[in-house]
């Protein structure tokens, strides 16, 4: 026990671990705030779709830098972010047009992003491209500029949700009723998709493309199991997000071979199972 504690304390004194915890906490709160809205709007897979779109965008960003020396300083994450924003708008447009079922629209963009990423990286022979970091996260390599960007987007997202709290709430409660009462609901569909896109780009360094939707789904889903009101649901979601990220990261400190992304998501899943069990036990009495 003492060895584990001293090894945790040694790790916590390292700058890169501190940065990892700071961005982990920021991303946990950011994705958990959105999580309740995304789950209730039945957009749980949008995180996956947007993350794969980001992969395509980041690959294009890297390729641009490689092919055109004057653009070598362009941050591939900026290109990825721009492509994700475009993707979030297009996915929402496809879902709203009713030409696609929601899950089919997400699947189309997921495949488009993945295929673009694979195509671009293969034809540009971009061997310097760290595919592992993108797919599984690279939280230990996070820089202060990434932390500042994540903090800025957390404040931006929280502010937007605070300002439009009532309209967003009514839109996810029942869009038909919201429209019938004069609320222009389509704007909030796009707003939610764009905020999810921002959360995806910011979260890529933490859990990677493959596990991103877990951060956007599990905290909200878990809090819905045990909360007794919507207010509680909204307040408990960031707590579950934080517990998953912090415990997951401690797990990967205790077992240094465990990737933080996987540990975080496994803790999140364990919390969901525990919340579902608690709900069932409570129903018996």
């Amino acid at each position: 026990m003492e060895t584990i504690l001293s090894s945790i304390l040694t790790y916590l004194s390292a700058g890169f671990i501190q940065r990892a915890f700071i961005i982990g906490i920021i991303v946990a709160v950011l994705s958990s705030i959105l999580s309740v809205y995304i789950v209730l709007k039945r957009l749980s897979l949008i995180g996956d779709g947007l993350a794969h779109t980001a992969y395509g965008g980041i690959a294009i960003g890297l390729a641009i830098g490689g092919l055109e020396p004057r653009l070598a300083n362009v941050n591939p994450f900026l290109v990825g972010g721009a492509v994700v924003l475009l993707g979030s708008i297009m996915i929402t447009k496809a879902i709203r047009s009713a030409k696609f079922a929601g899950d089919a629209a997400v699947a189309v963009f997921l495949e488009l992003g993945l295929a673009t990423g694979i195509f671009v990286t293969s034809v540009t022979l971009n061997y310097g491209f760290d595919l592992n970091a993108l797919l599984f996260g690279s939280i230990l390599l996070v820089t202060w500029s990434q932390i500042y960007a994540a903090a800025f987007f957390l404040v931006l997202t929280a502010t937007v949700i605070f300002i439009f709290f009532k309209q967003l709430l009514y839109t996810i409660f029942d869009e038909v009723q919201a429209r019938a009462s004069g609320i222009v609901t389509w704007k909030f569909d796009y707003l939610l998709a764009v905020l999810a896109g921002i959360a995806v780009v910011v979260s890529i360094p933490i859990v990677g493309i493959l596990l991103i939707s877990a951060l956007l789904v599990l905290p909200g889903l878990t809090s819905m199991q045990i909360a007794r009101s919507f207010k509680q649901t909204i307040l408990m979601s960031p707590i579950f997000g934080l517990v998953s990220v912090v415990l997951g990261m401690f797990l990967s400190i205790i077992e240094p071979n465990a990737a933080p992304g996987g540990s975080i998501v496994l803790v999140g899943l364990a919390l969901l199972v525990a919340a579902m069990a608690a709900k069932r036990i409570k129903a018996l009495f």
Binding site: F164, F173, V176, A180, S181, G182, A227, S229, F230
Partner: protein, 256 residues
């Protein structure tokens, strides 16, 4: 705008038609007026376009032809706020929302409350009034997903009432509700119409309920088959045409 009955009309449809993609005509040449304070029963077979008609009135579907006026003016967010809408409960996403009854009813205040992200004292007062009128004060802290069909229906009606509506629209409100709860619910609708003077449109399948409750009956099957007083509604003459198959109405006492 004054209706045929001499009263101010709250809904006016003029030659309204709705065509869905694929040239599916849901409504054709619907012209009607609903006077203030009326209780309208909207009937027609499945797929007759009843929900489409309600959606046209609610501004959710734009008519392909013709026009709609609400409270004497073209449809706008301002006059839509004068309408309270109660959806078919089993198909409403809101019926499983993770909120308490109080929170769900409070959501009905969103179009009327301040632009700030929180609710004010007036919003909470309106919620208490509506809960009391619907006799569901004791359900205040329950989660809406845990309620019976009848209780959920009352919650959604309370939610529609908190904006002080001048018109209430109910789309098949009692599907999935037991007989006793239906009776109590209809008596509340009658009270809302007679005590508060709220114009009511009730889309429903049950002919006995329509003839008992409604002053006016509108019968459609894509086109208008009847629009007039319930007392003049000759079910045996109109229903076989509107439903497109032989219908015989058997009376129990005064009611079909």
């Amino acid at each position: 705008m004054i209706s045929k009955s001499g009263k101010e009309s709250v809904v006016e449809l003029n030659d309204v038609g709705v065509t869905y993609p694929g040239d599916i005509e849901a409504l054709q040449h619907i012209t009607l007026e609903i006077p203030k304070g009326d209780f309208v029963g909207l009937i027609g077979p499945n797929g007759a376009g009843k929900s489409t008609l309600l959606n046209v009135i609610l501004g959710i579907i734009k008519p392909t032809t013709g026009y709609v006026r609400l409270f004497g003016e073209p449809i706008s967010p301002k006059n839509l706020r004068k309408i309270g809408y109660v959806p078919q409960i089993p198909y409403s996403k809101g019926s499983n929302f993770p909120s308490t009854v109080h929170e769900a009813v409070l959501m009905g205040r969103i179009p009327y409350s301040s632009p700030f992200p929180w609710f004010g004292r007036e919003d909470h007062r309106k919620v208490e009034e509506a809960l009391k009128r619907l006799e569901i004060e004791d359900l205040r802290k329950r989660k809406i997903g845990e309620l019976s069909g009848g209780e959920t229906q009352r919650v959604f009606t309370a939610k529609a009432l908190v904006g002080d509506p001048q018109m209430l629209i109910f789309d098949e409100p009692t599907s999935g509700v037991d007989i006793e709860a239906k009776k109590e619910f209809y008596s509340i609708l009658e009270q809302l119409n007679s005590d508060l003077g709220i114009t009511t449109i009730l889309s429903i399948h049950d002919l006995a309920v329509v003839t008992q409750l409604a002053r006016t009956i509108i019968c459609i099957n894509r086109t208008l088959y009847f629009d007039g007083l319930a007392t003049r509604f000759d079910a045996n003459a109109i229903l076989p045409k509107a439903y497109n198959y032989p219908v015989e109405v058997i009376k129990h006492g005064d009611h079909p």
